[in-house]
Symmetry: D2
Subunit: 302 residues, 4 copies
């Protein structure tokens, strides 16, 4: 099947190879001429010009967008005038499901089908077998399903229903991921603070073999400890790219009690600071009522 | 290797078979004569008399205790007088690591080695490949390691160090398990409350294939939904058997901030009640200051 | 000072009396003719017609809106065409601060000053001394400050700065309130579950006299227990009117770690259900891996 | 009434003055001769010798112990041999209620009444009117009640019932205090991170006048901001002296869901560290699966 692939970053480039492994014809676009040259060297067609990209695709066109979510809207604005009724756009980044629903409605005004595809599995997955959750019109899904079936791991794709459902599933997937990661981190923190002297890599390995908590995340934990036995070289700053926050915001809108996801997110924010205003207020209050000592900032540090 | 196995419940009976599959000689004890007869039918020796059990073992004796943790102390009290210096006792239940340390010290008074072995993987694991975390004297470990190697899955056992370390690891493993399960549950609750109409079994399947959150727990989630598509037949009462509480208590002693594990435990307690006193107080306060309506109990229900 | 008061509900009617106690001239509007008649009987002017209300006010007009937040926009749409440059509108309900900023901008298009005023203290406060937090143009504030000074308790009003700051302060005030109320509720739940037999009214009284946690909320707790010693007649359903949710959403936007406010909100949502889907998933998982019993719904109840 | 007061620290010295204000006869003991001299200068009797203290008291003796909880056991061991049947010991420090029950039983073996008295209100309270929660034998309570009535604020004392109930109430009081303080701190953190420019002292003042959250803690918040407008000089390290932890541990034993108290405690622990092992694990995992950048420790800092 012919696919117009927009975006040859880490994910897109791997996906291009994955698609070609399965005999799909890739026509790729990226502003970066090197990336285009590289993908052409592997057998794809390619261009740095969106109009050319669209022109090279046969109708109904299938476009797969794999770009940072900040630029999705600008890509859509650029291509919508070039597309025709019946064309299919797949947006496979980490967009908010409400944005995806709005974009679906917008593309529909010109008869273009819009599919929102959440993608999991990282770069490795994009290259050798990803996990997809897809929402949008069922007739468009029926056309492109082979692309997903071929580039996913076995059983690794799901048509979730109406527009937005793909990114909704991906969002909640990430919310669960936040909670799981925090649970693993907290467990190792208890080990680390204990009097026992554990080899964390070995602990992660045994927990990943036969135990109830065996999981890909535990495998990655083992891998991380194999590189740095006590993670001494790392800062514990936990950045976040949005999906965990969206999951909690959605939970609040649905009045769903999700304390584990909430706390895993809030502790990420907490990790961005070495000191907190909450802490200062509480320390000041303890001093006021109980005469408890407060720690003054060292003038040297200030 | 010859093993005296004490306890032929769900776990012990499966372990007996697992040991025999690997050519170990099992001499089993249980008060339940039927269980003993059943294990004898499979090729083990067996008895309902502890003295006989000990008498049948050659020195240094190896005893593997697989009984509910409430009866561990009574079993130990019964066997300690029968054992000799150099014998090895493996306690493979869900004991608190501090109890295990105390028992280790107590057994040491008569020269008996005591190993605390945390076991994960459920009944399936006991039968076909478990996951073990073991603490205690290294010289005793060296003797019995083959038993663990043979009955574990590959890479599924770890000698964690001094007495208590085995049950400590198992405890923290379960703490992580609480957090992971809660994260999965909360994710599905968000799906369930949303306007989308997801097939939860299919969602669990896709999340278990290629995604970041693929895990045995997600596999079990799929299995659970395959039996009852919306879990309509279940009550969401979340009982707990102690390890999550111990993990949190240990975290508090170590001043480790473990909010995800804490919340997963507290929500289990919350699930044991349909109404709360906290809620009544808050509802009463809202009524006092804001005139907000309170819900009165229906007289019929009271 | 002359005030056009829009809204004679629980809060507005009490405020009208409070204003008149301090010799302010109240011209009141409500669609409910009875409410208007009642306030006129107390010495106010009144009308059920907005145009008439505006016509009776001398320039620059001062309008104080005290209506449910759902109808604020419709009231503003009705009055904006009737107002002139330099008039001042005070909106004293529980609006989201972002809405207030948008309304401020909208009113500014016709030269009307818009002040957002958060009001605390309940009906009692509206009648005898409220607590106000006000945002908007300083020159408008300078004009109306006497109204706030007179109807507030001593030190009970604050000009917080630019548009939105009043409702922002009120929002955060309510977020703190959620946390405080939950803390009190949880404390009494621990008492209630303990083996001791406490008289909760007396406990609330002693905690409200001389202790660190003495507070108006503790006074209200005493009052609530004085009416129903164990709150036996109440359901612990904790409804919420939005500000706690807004506080958490704002905290997420600001990446502020606010776990106490978050949990107090999530437990309100939790209280709306007697069973949870999270709980069902966790119970199902415990059954899958450990053979732990699940509680089936009674067919009679289903 | 004659009281033997053991301990002339911050609390004890203030209490001595408070007792004398109400015409009670104070016979004070402290190892610190200066403290004894100071209290004598104010009209008390005093000694640095426990035997002398006991000898100076008429039967039935009343001893009020106001010492750090670490030395309570040693004081009790010293005085028990000196006391007679019917004497009354009041222990007014921050002991765990289970310890108090054990001490009650121990003192009972020699016929001595033991009362556990939780004290709140800080040094100011000890001097001018404290808040007391007392447990123990009702007949002993009947004897000493005047001491509590006189040195408490009005309505500021409660006999809570059997042994341990006093310290249980104080423990839960502190648990609530943790939650309230955290709620206040979090609220100000949201203000501090917002785009508005609030004067925190003024905010605390307005919230303490007429609002729902008016409270002594808010008064202290105002006082703290009056000294340091943005608490710039303080570190936000939140130490804890045990009662919050005990409250949570008790809640776990009672299976009471107390997430707000739990999080207020865990955030105190979190504040003791500038970086966490949990954070390192999560950061490492994000890097493993998503190639997300990690922050390396600066070699200069290490």
């Amino acid at each position: 099947m012919q696919v117009g692939l927009i975006g040859l970053g880490k994910m897109g480039f791997n996906l291009a190879q994955n698609l070609m492994d399965h005999k799909h014809e890739v026509v790729a676009f990226d502003l970066n001429a090197d990336a285009v040259a590289n993908v052409k060297a592997l057998g794809a067609k390619g261009t740095t010009n969106l109009k050319e990209l669209v022109a090279q695709l046969s109708s109904p066109r299938i476009l797969w967008i794999m770009v940072p979510h900040q630029v999705v809207d600008s890509v859509l604005a650029d291509i919508q005038p070039l597309l025709s009724k019946g064309d299919i756009v797949i947006e496979a980044g980490n967009s908010h499901y409400k944005e995806s629903i709005a974009r679906y409605e917008q593309m529909k005004t010109t008869g273009v089908h819009y599919l929102d595809a959440g993608t999991s599995g990282g770069m490795e997955g994009a290259r050798h077998g990803a996990c997809y959750m897809v929402g949008g019109d069922p007739e468009a899904w029926a056309v492109v399903e082979p692309l997903f079936r071929d580039t996913a791991v076995e059983n690794g794709y799901l048509y979730g229903g109406k527009a937005g459902s793909g990114h909704f599933l991906k969002m909640v997937h990430n919310g669960i991921e936040y909670g799981m990661m925090a649970a693993i981190g907290e467990g190792f923190e208890v080990l680390e603070k204990s009097d026992f002297e554990f080899d964390f890599e070995k602990v992660a390995r045994v927990w990943n073999n036969g135990s109830v908590i065996r999981s890909w995340l535990m495998e990655l934990t083992e891998r991380a400890f194999s590189k740095d036995a006590k993670l001494d070289e790392l800062m514990g700053t936990m950045h976040s790219s949005g999906e965990g926050k969206w999951t909690l915001e959605t939970a609040l809108d649905l009045q769903a009690a999700t304390p584990v996801i909430a706390m895993s997110l809030l502790m990420r924010y907490r990790s961005l600071e070495t000191d907190t205003f909450t802490g200062k207020v509480v320390a000041a209050l303890r001093n006021e009522f109980g005469g408890h000592a407060v720690e003054k900032k060292s003038p040297v540090l200030v």
